[in-house]
Symmetry: C2
Subunit: 545 residues, 2 copies
């Protein structure tokens, strides 16, 4: 049996586009002699469709698409994920299903059992878990269908679920398993996936074909890296990361096994490629081409400029250099050098006159109150307004350049440097930002060395440095990581050797700045715990605040 | 048996404050001769604690608080809600529990079974459902404890769950039921609650004491309105809306029953009171006192000024009137009259010079491109910046004044009139805004008549009216209601008699403006379907867009 794995980029709610893409891939696979082609979870409607699932009309569109695909399943079987109405009145309205289409009809449906409802996942919001389990027989083979999380309840120390769907299917003696996934990227995810699938082969001793989605949907980036494992637990093949492809496998060959070491990528390389795809798809799926951003001469905006250029092409990236009276010469020079290295359009716009006009307008009210955060923020917001004006005039999307460390402690100005349609590096800590800059320069200097080595500064008052108000990033990032990724409390972090006062101050800053993060653009997720839909915090909470 | 219902305002994560409040109420009830006092769901930690629940430290604080309260339970029983570690390794880490504290110890615990995971609720994200059911015997009475949703699976046409916890408890022959709730306000909720509790008395024929939380937590407003029902299905008492109170009940009297008609409040009166509480608690729980907002002379900012004044006191409300060259005379006059009616501080700040300075700065880039949305937004953003400057200088929180109709179709400027820490009327449609204004004026004119009757205009270009770019609000609001609250698709809405082109345009506007709503302040929720945490939509989706 020849099996095609279609690792493709779907678009949420774009039934016409997704169906067309599935049909094209099916025809290609049929021409290549495949007996079966398998697509990813909820491929019909794109993942995650979120509350679109609550619209009957949306589910009806999905039904129509499945029927259209069934008609296409002649001399080839199509396995594809889609939502489906729960025919039983009790329980949630929908199932998250794997459809097996063959001989022009829907031959078999297996519903998803384990519904992730944590971090960025909300599946129990919509779906009823499966209570029936079977296999489908096709061309003499018994095939078990599982959907993403269904295979993740094995070999864990702390199992989230009290049922294991494959255990329920085993009495039907499946010959192999197809898993339809939409497993979002984090820099740890590819390794975890391999562990989980290996644990499944160890337990069930059969070939496993793991088909992942590729492509970004707003903040979530799906990295592909689909997997084929042999019954003896050896990796047979790992498909590429971050690109669409269709690969073919002979079932007998997979059953025999071979040694494949998979792809070896550094954490930073994966983050880099993920962010490029995240930017590219955000624009592509919204139908935009061009971006604008502010280049401060600092490392964060430099990273975003490079990522944007790699994602959209230099002809689609425009930057503004917006010095104030507090900007140092090197800021403008460094930013200009970067823009020239990238070959992108740049303009230098002084903000001093605008800032002064605000000062004059406010003078009757502020009188001789001392310079404070109000004046600092006026500068940041003047820049944000200029970027938004360009955006509105020319149809650019503004990219936000805030990093995760700043997002965490609220070191940024709402409606100022926190503006923009997409936060590109909001899940990248400052220390990782330095690594990313080095990685970008690995084949020759793109980001001027001075941008990487100079001490970080917001330049909103004379001789300001980040370390005036924040601890050194080496220390800050470690505390933040323990609190955000590891969910450690103050006592546990202090017990690791960090200064108590510092720990309490940092945790307090994180919690009291929830209101800023609430209003910040979606953040491209590259870590196991990003700000945004995967981290839901009360604003008025008084915990550690 | 004398039973005290404590309808109190808790604060998320404020263990010290919440515990202290529970102890004070318990002492008061004991002095009044109560045998038992019952508090609301998750009262220990405040509802909803959201991802704070993922911190072991947070759960540990909750445990400590329960133990402290148990020590206080001498000669009186305390029934209180709190999170609790699931001792079984399989399944979710926590239970959402009702603790029965008596004789200085934890006597009994009943976990919640039905975990709402829809709209604003995420309970299955954290909690494992109960699998054991019992009753607790105290002073000769067998008491069934249920938590909020546990009683909501009765008498529904479309039951969400496949189990009914009270059915499981009935074999233990309970004498009465205590329900610990945190049921958020919407203008329909009080009626639905009464229907549900009546359906429970019809089925179980026993007294039911329904104890609700009161107070606002960021966007969610809990309205109180706790209920006592007699076994024959008659309402015995409905506690007040929107205020803290402790009421006492003799169990024998409740068992006998009496006729009480409850509170008769109009939808608009309830919305009004909910919004006042929402603003008050947002400030109070964050530790702020003062607000600033822009008064345009239009109805939306007028409503917010009135609500803020009623919530915070006139001495804590400051408004800016920020006319441009496009503002009509009546705008400033109407706004001034309103400010004078309210007795709040107002200043008039012209934005023309700031706007001109932006124009001059941008002239080399925009050249002679025609005036468009870029220039309109510059005005809105100049105003936003001035408000934020005051906010930063004087420690005010800016209140956002956008209504639900505008939020829906994206008729507003990000970082401009969409700025602010809290959206006060973002869940109030424009037609409801008019009703609310009339309601505010019921005891004498607060909002000048002209503000209510003149045609709505953003005044961002000469002779602009909302109806230039939007359909009349009478029609728009109806289409939005069908799409947002009723989740009808285009075909269903068109079949109701609305123009097809208009329907498709409105639905498209709603969907393509998700990016704006993503960055807007939390919206005080007063309807069954508000923008924010209860409506989760993809930004890059292509459905109806």
């Amino acid at each position: 049996m020849k099996i095609a794995i279609a690792q493709l980029n779907f678009h949420i709610g774009n039934f016409e586009g997704n169906t067309e893409k599935i049909i094209q891939a099916t025809r290609e696979a049929k021409a290549a002699g495949a007996d079966l082609i398998c697509f990813s979870e909820l491929a019909i409607c794109g993942y995650p469709p979120r509350d679109f699932l609550e619209f009957d009309d949306f589910i009806h569109q999905a039904d129509k698409a499945i029927n259209k695909l069934a008609a296409e399943a002649q001399d080839i079987a199509i396995v594809v994920g889609g939502p489906r109405k729960n025919p039983v009145i009790e329980g949630k309205d929908l199932f998250n299903s794997a459809f097996f289409l063959a001989d022009g009809e829907v031959k078999f449906i297996q519903n998803k059992t384990l519904l992730p409802t944590y971090d960025i996942f909300d599946e129990y919001r919509y779906f009823e878990p499966a209570s029936e389990f079977g296999v489908v027989t096709y061309k003499g083979k018994r095939i078990a269908l599982t959907v993403c999380e269904d295979i993740w309840n094995i070999g864990n120390e702390n199992p989230l679920y009290t049922i294991c769907p494959m255990d329920e299917m085993m009495p039907h003696q499946p010959d192999f398993m197809l898993n339809l996934s939409a497993s979002p990227f984090s820099y740890k995810q590819a390794d975890e996936r391999k562990n989980v699938i290996k644990a499944n082969t160890d337990r069930y001793n059969m070939p496993i074909f793991y088909v992942n989605h590729v492509g970004a949907q707003t903040e979530l980036i799906f990295d592909g890296g689909s997997l084929v494992y042999s019954p003896d637990g050896r990796l047979f093949e790992e498909l590429p990361y971050f690109e669409e492809c269709i690969h073919y496998f002979d079932l007998d060959e997979v059953a025999k096994g071979r040694d494949d070491s998979g792809q070896q990528c550094s954490k930073i390389a994966k983050i880099h490629d993920a962010l490029v795809l995240g930017v590219k798809d955000y624009f592509g799926k919204l139908g935009f081409k061009k971006t604008i951003l502010g280049l401060s001469g600092g490392i964060d905006s430099a990273l975003v400029a490079v990522l944007a250029t790699r994602a959209l092409g230099k002809e689609n990236v425009r930057v503004l250099l917006m010095p104030s009276q507090f900007s140092s010469d090197h800021s403008v020079n460094d930013a200009r050098e970067l823009a020239e290295n990238l070959g992108i359009q740049y303009d230098i716009i002084e903000i001093e006159k605008i800032y002064k006009q605000y000062e004059n307008t406010l003078e009757p009210y502020f009188k001789d109150m001392p310079f404070n955060i109000a004046e600092e923020n006026l500068q940041a917001r003047s820049r944000g307004m200029l970027l938004m004006a360009f955006s509105n005039k020319f149809g650019h999307i503004v990219l936000n350049t805030t990093n995760k460390s700043e997002m965490a402690v609220g070191y940024g100005t709402l409606y100022g440097d926190l503006c923009g349609g997409l936060s590109v590096i909001g899940d990248v800590y400052k220390m990782e930002a330095f690594e990313l800059a080095r990685y970008m320069n690995k084949d020759g200097e793109v980001i001027p060395e001075n941008i990487i080595t100079k001490p970080p500064s917001a330049e909103l008052r004379p001789n300001q440095f980040d370390t005036d108000s924040l601890p050194p990033y080496e220390e800050l990032d470690q505390i933040l990581f323990q609190y955000i990724e590891k969910r450690k409390g103050p006592k546990e972090i202090i017990a690791m050797g960090f200064d108590e006062k510092l720990v309490r101050r940092v945790l307090r800053l994180v919690n009291i700045n929830e209101f800023k993060r609430y209003q910040t653009a979606p953040v491209l997720r590259v870590s196991p715990k990003a700000f945004g839909m995967g981290r839901r915090m009360p604003i008025v909470g008084k915990y550690l605040a």
